[in-house]
């Protein structure tokens, strides 16, 4: 059964289909025209699907679809289709299909006359589509999916996800010409503004969901009283309005839209006019039944909308770039739509839906026409264009129809939109003052919009170049796709009869029919709707208006309602518009506003940059200074808020003072005290001793003392691991040390006891840190629970559930087996990481080695020299006795490891100890036989293979019980299941497999580490 997710799926599949051909060689690919036609099928299918739902929706039903996304959090991804979303959905998919067809021609290299049109298109000899086209199709189809998801979203979270999706894809499309700095800047600006709005919107929507009691539309729309009565209402409204205003380019956040015009024209037509910028309008209309009908709502939207309407209308006339004119008129129209949502009258919502559709139709067409003009002439500069209607008559006709609709002239759809708008503004529900102000502003901006439409149709196609401008073309930057060519900048002297033809105008010609299909279809629809008044459109607009208003709204598409106030106002606007158009030259020469939002934006960004620069100046780059600051801040906080006096007089100290050191007298206590002192003393030695090598030995001693302490716990398993880890740490530390140039080491070593002031400061910090930890320990020891909940469970169930005697082993391998699996993965990753890190460093070091060493390493300074290329310590051949020991150590280690794996579940030891034991034996060989010697003797040893094998066995062993009906990681004794004749005390079970896996992975990882650190850096090989 087809569900609501189907249209989304169709667009996503289309996006994938756009990229797939790029794997083919360029000559065998489809041309971009064919690709455009083909891909337009995806939105077309979605369009048909949505259209098929219309009869159902007209009856007032709502279609929903749900998918349990994160059931634990109660989060659903849901879709919701009603009159409002289907109107937007049809616009998105319908215009989407047309835009794709158009884009196929737009990116066709054969059609571009502009010298540097696009980036690589013109220079490509092949007619096949380029990866660059594929990139465009991918982005725009992804955008389509996001936009469709946005309008179909059934809850606030889903809506937000798709909302951000449109922001991101819009960014990619604006910055499509990645080599153009302006495009990148414009893209960043758009992302910055709409991204900030997106965050505010999320916060606002979460407020709505929290107060309304649910995140889906049905719940939100039915909880209007709770929402409007909430004290948070102004906050959430402000947040949502901010999100919607930034997205829909309302003043004062409109400034990102004109710079977004650096996107390829098909994207501008689609995103920045017909669809994406309407997202803000959509969310406001969607939430109107829940949040609307308050004073705040009306004033916020009406003021912002009216300001935007006027700003866009006036600024638009000043532009010389055709796309900028369209951008500003779009801003103006978005202002109209937002203003309408603010009004609480059915008329307003009728006007809203008509306005949305009318604007999408004529503006989409006009953008595509501008793209065609730009493409054939190579410029979008109004001052260079003119008198090209004879050369491109079809284009001119389409442009005229769309421009007439934009101007609001009968019998086009735009006229109806303006009528409805004016009718809504004289509704009784508005405050008396606004019933005058709003129509006045609308008439004024309507006049300017008409002048803009006149500019688009007449200045581009009919009047001579430069008409309507006082300034000449000299030194004016070119705005089109074609880059400036010094010799074709010509002066137009207004005293002489205008030069009829610039170079650009000679290039003008009609594009192929396919390229005109899309704008022609849109323009024709503007005419068809009003002339034939199809019932389906009336129903569609009525159901959308009803959904947005919350109560049923009637819509009629009749052009003539009798001689009434709106008609008179409309006539006034047209008359005024003609005057404005005639006076466009003087209007254009008036100086622009001093304060521009763009400048403010630039200044804000620069200030942030400066602040960041200032902040990073505190970063000196010395790690120990950072650490000092962190510690000081921590201790400062403790001193301020730690409540020290109460802490020190607390019961634990009293109790400890009352019974001090009584358990020291028994032999075990005595041994513990001894090993504690040993651990501390050895650690102290590692501080004070001068030579680094001896300090490492002291560290090793300290670690072994800790192991003794652990063994006395008594905890033999952990003690074993501590011993082998301590040894391995020492070995790799020594190996690393032996590879650093000796002169460097000597220099570093000399630092150890210099700088008394530093030492004093560090000592103070260390003493404070030690005191804090001691206090912490005392508290912890005094207040630790004496009865555990978990441990008795382990003790009682280790044997019956896992068959293990060793409780610690059972916890590690069975109860917390998954933890251990992750643990060995981490350890393996560390091993691989060390190996790759050092191998990469080796290759880079070749360059460094080429530079002369400033100090020759003096052998007498040698701390400890393992020259792995040679044999043994200090380059001396090891004695036969040591050789014999090494040969003995290896089989011994293997036996030891095997015993630990087999009996690990019942005796001390486990797979980890086994793995480290093996690698210690190999490490011993490295010292005795040298790197080359080990390589020769252990040729088949492949650390990577061991790791992979280990992890594989672990996963297989853990999954195997699932075959026998158990859970992942449940214990099974395969020996018993298969009736294998195994000796007493030996089990072939999941835990055995897991221990083996741990051993292999750890062995592999340790080998990697030893191998990387023991590598002689090309000396021997």
């Amino acid at each position: 059964m087809l569900t609501l997710a189907f249209p989304l799926l169709a667009c996503t599949v289309g996006a994938l289909a756009a990229v797939l051909p790029t794997v083919l060689p360029a000559t065998t690919r489809l041309s971009s025209r064919a690709l455009g036609w083909l891909l337009s099928g995806a939105p077309l299918v979605a369009f048909i699907y949505l259209a098929a739902q219309l009869p159902h929706l007209f009856e007032g039903h709502v279609i929903t679809w749900q998918f349990a996304w994160l059931p634990a959090l109660g989060l659903n991804a849901s879709l919701y289709l009603d009159g409002l979303s289907v109107l937007f959905g049809l616009i998105v998919t319908g215009i989407g299909a047309l835009v794709l067809i158009y884009a196929g021609y737009y990116f066709d290299p054969a059609l571009s006359h502009a010298p540097a049109a696009g980036d690589a298109h013109a220079s490509l000899a092949s007619q096949g589509s380029t990866t660059s086209d594929a990139r465009f199709f991918l982005y725009i189809l992804l955008f389509m999916a996001s936009m469709l998801g946005l309008v179909l979203a059934g809850d606030v979270i889903t809506l937000f996800v798709f909302w951000e999706g449109t922001s991101v894809t819009s960014f990619l499309l604006i910055a499509y010409k990645t080599k153009d700095a302006e495009a990148r800047k414009g893209a960043f600006k758009a992302l910055f503004v709409t991204g900030a709005g997106g965050i505010a919107l999320l916060a606002g929507l979460l407020f709505v969901a929290a107060i309304g009691g649910g995140s889906d539309w049905a719940t939100i729309l039915s909880s209007r009283d709770v929402l409007r009565a909430s004290p948070w209402y102004p906050v959430l409204l402000a947040l949502i309005a901010f999100g919607a205003f930034t997205k829909s380019a309302q003043a004062p956040f409109h400034f990102w839209l004109p710079t977004a015009m650096s996107a390829p024209t098909p994207a501008s037509a689609y995103l920045h006019s017909a669809t994406m910028v309407k997202a803000g309008v959509y969310i406001l209309a969607r939430l109107h039944p829940a949040l609307g009908n308050t004073e705040l709502w009306f004033w916020l939207l009406a003021v912002a909308g009216a300001t935007t309407m006027l700003t866009g209308a006036i600024l638009g006339l000043r532009q010389v770039d055709l796309k900028a004119v369209l951008a500003y008129s779009t801003i103006s129209q978005l202002g109209v739509l937002v203003m309408l949502i603010g009004e609480e009258a059915p008329e307003a919502f009728k006007a809203l839906t008509i306005g949305v559709l009318a604007h999408a139709l004529y503006k989409g067409a006009l953008f595509m026409i501008v793209g065609i003009v730009d493409h054939t002439t190579g410029t979008r500069d109004l001052r260079r264009l003119g008198r090209i209607w004879r050369a491109m008559p079809l284009t001119f006709v389409v442009c005229s129809i769309a421009a007439l609709s934009m101007a609001g002239l009968p019998p086009l759809f735009g006229f109806l939109a303006k009528e409805a708008l004016l009718a809504a503004e004289i509704e009784e529900v508005l405050p008396a003052m606004m019933r005058v102000i709003l129509p006045a502003l609308t008439v004024l901006s309507g006049a300017f919009i008409l002048a803009q439409a006149g500019t688009l149709a007449l200045d581009t196609f009919v009047t001579p170049p430069g008409a309507g401008f006082f300034k000449t073309v000299v030194d004016l930057p070119l705005t089109g796709e074609g880059r400036d060519d010094p010799e074709d900048v010509e002066t137009i002297d207004r005293s002489k009869p205008a030069r009829p033809h610039l170079k650009e105008t000679l290039l003008a010609q009609d594009p192929p029919a396919g390229m005109l299909i899309a704008p022609a279809a849109l323009a024709a629809l503007s005419l068809v709707i009003t002339v034939f008044q199809p019932q389906v459109f009336t129903d569609l607009l009525a159901s959308a208006a009803s959904a947005a208003y919350g109560v049923k709204v009637k819509v009629s598409l009749d052009l003539f309602h009798g001689l009434n106030v709106p008609l008179l106002l409309s006539a006034l606007a047209i008359g005024l518009g003609v005057v404005v158009f005639r006076l466009r030259s003087p209007i254009r020469s008036v100086a622009g506003p001093a304060l521009s939002m763009n400048a403010l934006y630039e200044r804000t960004l620069n200030t942030i940059d400066r602040l960041a620069g200032w902040a990073t100046r505190t970063q000196g780059g010395r790690i120990r200074i950072y650490l000092t600051v962190i510690l000081m801040a921590l201790f400062g906080l403790l001193a301020l808020f730690g409540n020290l006096s109460q802490l020190l007089s607390a019961p634990p100290f009293a109790r400890l003072a009352a019974a001090p050191l009584d358990d020291l007298l028994d032999p075990l206590g005595f041994l513990r005290a001894f090993s504690l002192i040993l651990a501390v003393a050895a650690a102290l030695v590692s501080v004070v001793i001068r030579r680094d090598f001896l300090a490492i030995l002291a560290l090793s001693a300290s670690g072994l003392a800790v192991a003794v302490l652990i063994a006395l716990e008594p905890s033999p398993d952990v003690a074993l691991v501590q011993v082998v880890v301590d040894l391995l740490s020492t070995v790799i530390l020594v190996l690393a040390l032996s590879h650093l140039p000796i002169a460097q080491l000597a220099r570093a070593e000399a630092l150890n006891h210099r700088d008394r002031a530093c030492m004093l400061r560090n000592t103070i910090l260390a003493v404070i840190g030690g005191a804090v930890v001691t206090t912490l320990c005392l508290y912890a020891f005094a207040s630790r629970p004496r009865e555990s909940v978990v441990t008795p469970f382990f003790e009682q169930n280790a044997k019956p559930l896992t068959g293990a005697d060793d409780i610690v082993g059972a916890v590690v391998v069975d109860f917390r087996g998954f933890d251990t699996l992750i643990e060995i993965s981490v350890f393996s990753v560390a091993g691989v990481g060390v190996f790759t890190l050092l191998r990469y460093a080796m290759t880079r070091r070749e360059a460094l080695r080429a530079q002369p060493e400033e100090e020759a390493p003096a052998p007498s300074q040698a701390l400890f020299r393992v020259s792995p290329a040679l044999y043994g310590i200090d380059g001396k051949r090891a004695s036969p006795f040591i050789h014999a020991l090494a040969y003995l150590a290896m089989p011994l280690a293997i036996v030891l490891a095997a015993v630990q794996i087999i009996h690990g579940h019942h005796e001390p030891g486990d797979g980890f100890t086994a793995g480290v034991t093996l690698s210690l034996a190999v490490g011993f060989w490295y010292v005795v036989f040298g790197f080359a010697g080990v390589r020769r003797r252990l040729r088949g040893l492949r650390p990577g293979l061991l790791i992979g094998l280990g992890l594989l066995i672990a996963v297989i062993g853990a999954s195997a019980p699932m075959l026998l009906g158990g859970a992942f990681f449940s214990p099974v004794d395969f020996g018993a299941v298969l009736r294998l004749p195994l000796p007493e005390g030996v089990y072939f079970s999941t835990s055995f497999l897991f221990e083996l896996a741990i051993c292999l992975a750890v062995f592999g990882a340790s080998l990697f580490i030893i191998d990387a650190l023991g590598h002689p850096e090309g000396e021997a090989e």
Binding site: D692, G703, L745, N762, G770, R784, S788
Partner: protein
Amino acid sequence: MDLLRAIAIGVLFGIALYQLLRRNVIRIAIGLVILSNAVNLFLLSVGAYNGVVEAYAKAVGQRSDALPQALILTAIVISMGGFSMMLALLYVIASRYRTGDSDEVRGLSH
């Protein structure tokens, strides 16, 4: 005994901090190992039971607490992995910057 343990852990921690604050990268590595030893010792000491026999099902008497032991076992292994990774990083940095002095390792130009 608890008092002695607390003091010992505190001193180990202090020593580790001191080592971490030094300029010589090798001493910094040493400090890290001492730090993880101190923390493991702390974890071991906060077990609920003062055991006299090891945590085996067949053992008779008060067993030591198995839970912190299992946790430490994991902690030791992970800190070993982290330590070797850090050592490799120190090694790479030291050979790039041609110094074992952490103060000279600054800037991203090398």
